[in-house]
């Protein structure tokens, strides 16, 4: 008997004005599994991720978490649901006006009364786990480098141990070493929490490290989805081009023909 997937998307579609970004997304992620979503820039990966915890409401389709439909359930249901998610954003989205310790313990402090000292201790412990010096908790996001900000964002997302983690390009814009460190942190965190994760990544080395399963979004649908080990012989030309970062191929042709159509 097949078990209920942790996350299940069926026929999800979303347009912004005339721009039909998602047309028919179907996906399943099993509990404890790590799915990585790949695809060319602007294909709708971030939008897909934001649909999962209700930041964007799809026009059509169904999204189930543990077999329970999340769409159309009202605000209170959505707020309950979001407590089970942790998320990092493509551009960090740390709160500029708050020091790092308040950023990291933001949700904890919304949910329970924590003394300032206690919150700072938790924040210091969390950032040290992620390889940052404890004194950064008194700095502001603008004072940190991009890589440090990514780690703080990670710390904020996992601070209260959610069961589902969404990471939007956690290693983009980082040097390979720092990227590798972040991948390690993600794998560690996930193993410790036993969380289900959906990660967006452009970085194939990183994909190979963190993925159990890979899904490629293209033209608003899931073009290919399979085990990370089968990624290299998927038999799909677009996946082949993407994985090997080739300039020539079906992906570039569609981009070019799109531009022709617009011009």
């Amino acid at each position: 008997m097949p078990t209920t997937p942790k996350i299940e998307l069926q026929g999800v579609a979303k347009s912004f004005g005339d721009n039909a970004v998602l047309k028919d997304i179907n996906l399943q992620v099993a509990a404890g599994e790590s799915l990585v979503v790949i695809g060319t820039s602007g294909c709708g990966k971030s939008v897909t991720l934001k649909c999962l915890n209700g930041l964007i409401t799809p026009d059509r389709g169904s999204i189930k978490i543990d077999g329970v439909e999340i769409l159309g359930g009202g605000r209170a249901a959505l707020e309950d649901l979001r407590r089970r998610f942790g998320m990092t954003f493509q551009f960090g989205a740390l709160f500029d006006s708050l020091p790092i310790w308040e950023n990291v313990t933001f949700r904890l402090r919304q949910q329970q009364k924590l003394s300032k000292a206690k919150a700072r201790d938790i924040a210091a412990a969390t950032v040290t786990d992620l390889g940052l010096a404890p004194h950064v908790i008194d700095q502001y996001p603008a004072e940190l480098s991009g890589g440090m900000q990514k780690r703080v964002a990670l710390a904020r997302a996992i601070a209260d141990k959610p069961e589902i983690l969404l990471f939007d390009e956690p290693t983009s814009g980082l040097d390979p070493i720092t990227g590798g460190v972040i991948d390690r942190l993600i794998i560690d965190a996930v193993q410790r929490l036993g969380a289900t994760t959906v990660t967006i990544s452009h970085d194939m080395a990183s994909v190979r490290r963190i993925a159990d399963k890979v899904a490629m979004v293209h033209n608003g649908v899931i073009l290919w989805c399979g085990d990370v080990k089968q990624m290299d012989n998927s038999g799909v030309a677009e996946v082949h081009q993407f994985v090997h970062g080739l300039a020539e191929g079906p992906l570039t042709q569609t981009a070019a023909s799109k531009q022709d159509g617009q011009g």
Binding site: L55, R82, M87, F89
Partner: protein
Amino acid sequence: MLSFIQNMGRTALNFLSALGRITLFSVVAIRWIFTPPYYWQQFFRQTLDIGYYSLPVVGLTTLFSGMVLALQSYTGFARFSAEDTVATVVVLSVTRELGPVLAGLMVAGRIGASMAAEIGTMRVTDQIDALDTLSTRPMQYLVAPRLLAGTLCLPFLVLIGDIIGVFGGYIVGVFRLGFNPAIYLSRTLEYLEISDVTLGLIKAAVFGFLIALMGCYHGYHSGRGAEGVGRATTNAVVSASILILISNYLVTALFFGV
């Protein structure tokens, strides 16, 4: 011709739907003002910014307005030998009209713009979405404290502005126009009624609400990128200023003769 009518119709419809959206936005935000958790820290930060840091701007504006008003009304009233009314004219104009409107317009430029820019930046950098993912309602955390602070702070700001404006009139009256200080002061208070001041303060509260509302609304619905935030900021200041002038007339008309 037909397309002209079509455009008119479309403009009217857009206007009405914007009005509807803004009303809905403010109803939701007002509801969150009265629902726990209360974000006092946010509220105090805004209070400081609106109430305290706007003091110099508002003080200077009303000071010089009071001064020029004394000069101008003297010129006018001297033509029919009614110079002694200068003190009364200054105090009534400042408390009923100039204090609230000028303070409102100055604060609209300062606070409306900064709210729209701050919230707009949070929107385009996904910080508002991040709030949602961290079990915090952005409307309650960002918008509600700002509306409350705006509504409560402006009356205080205007009260101080009134005093400074009247003082400006006094300076000019006494040192430039040669009024006797004691007589100028007693003229100032003689015809002033409590209702003149309260009318001004009611206006101030309305303006404070509108400024914060426009700043938050435009920031919250900011378009994407730096350009979107820039446009949100401009829209917030322009719409707040226009709404101040419109509501100024409406509030005055409502209390006319009272």
